[in-house]
């Protein structure tokens, strides 16, 4: 018999929670195994010390009732959700704008004639075409240009 099984059976028998059949089997096992008898004695000693500690210290059993407590509602981070959504949209727009600005500037720096060269690109209806924001050196500010990705790939090949 496993030690943990013996432990459980001895405790259950001590509390009168063991079925008669299981009790008989346990008695038979203890009668034939001296080691198990010694182990059972040690378990009972632990039980007695546990009982004494519990009886002498009633404060151990005074515990707060914690079960059946409904989970607290999740704390709302934003008092006004619509404001948070608006802020998120503005942030996203700003990120897109900044990304386009940086990409456009770097494109104009690498290209020899800037937007003129881009404008010179054939306006084919490529499915891979995309738009890019570029900086106009003539002083017109930002402008959106349509870029053919095939051209970009050709340009990147040395």
């Amino acid at each position: 018999m496993k030690p943990e099984s013996l432990h459980a059976l001895i405790i259950d028998r001590h509390f009168g929670e063991l079925s008669p059949e299981a009790g008989e089997l346990l008695e038979h096992h203890l009668a034939n195994h001296a080691g198990a008898r010694a182990e059972a004695e040690r378990i009972l000693q632990s039980l007695n010390v546990t009982r004494d500690a519990v009886l002498r210290h009633p404060e151990l059993g005074r515990v707060p009732i914690t079960e059946r407590v409904s989970a607290p509602a999740p704390r709302r981070i934003f008092v006004m959700p619509w404001l948070a959504r608006a802020a998120a949209v503005l942030l996203l727009a700003a990120l897109v704008g900044a990304g386009g600005f940086i990409a456009g500037r770097s494109g104009s720096q690498t290209a020899s004639s800037g937007p003129a060269e881009v404008q010179a690109a054939p306006r084919r209806e490529s499915p891979w075409a995309r738009y890019r924001m570029t900086f106009d050196p003539a002083g017109a500010g930002m402008q959106v240009v349509r870029v053919d990705t095939e051209m970009l790939e050709k340009k990147s090949i040395p």
């Binding site: 459980a8 259950d12 632990s46 546990t50 004494d52 500690a53 519990v54 515990v63 009732i65």
Partner: protein, 163 residues
């Protein structure tokens, strides 16, 4: 089966369990005069529950479950718990104080529900089924937690002997 001479459930429960409940409340709240009020309130709650159609599997466990909640409610109202009257509980022959102290330390580190199971078992003499009903947990949990608690105490005691 003739049931004409059998007292009603509540009356029978009162006869059987009023003393146990008095000890339960006294152990938790001291020997104050409010203990009897708590006992009465427990049976009143029990009567309300039965009237409302509740049919507990284990009536004594259900009764202690009510007592537990009332005790907690009364306890939380008071700033201090009155010290326990030493005459209220009979302690078995002490083995050795340092062993009991080691066990107390071990038990105090256990989960609250485990400590409550130990209290209901050793101090109130409730069965596994009654404890399960009182705490609204499965019997298997009562059994395993009890076994685990004793195993923890044993481990501690053995480590004290063979450090």
């Amino acid at each position: 089966m003739d049931t004409t001479n059998q007292p009603p459930l509540l009356e029978r429960l009162f006869t059987e369990s009023a003393g146990d409940l008095t000890r339960y409340f006294a152990r938790r709240h001291g020997a104050a005069e409010g203990v009897q009020d708590l006992v009465q309130e427990t049976f009143l709650e029990m009567a309300r529950g039965l009237r409302d159609g509740k049919s507990p599997k284990c009536t004594r466990g259900y009764l202690f479950g009510i007592a537990r909640h009332l005790s907690h409610a009364a306890w939380s109202k008071r700033a201090e718990v009155i010290p326990l009257n030493a005459e209220l509980h009979d302690v078995a022959e002490p083995i050795r104080d340092d062993r009991v102290e080691a066990a107390r330390e071990t038990i105090s580190a256990l989960e609250p529900v485990q400590r409550e199971i130990l209290d209901l078992r050793f101090a109130q003499g409730l069965s596994y089924a009654e404890i399960a009903e009182a705490l609204s947990i499965p019997i298997g949990t009562v059994r395993s937690r009890l076994h685990h608690a004793v195993a923890e105490v044993r481990q501690r005691l053995e480590s004290e002997i063979n450090p």
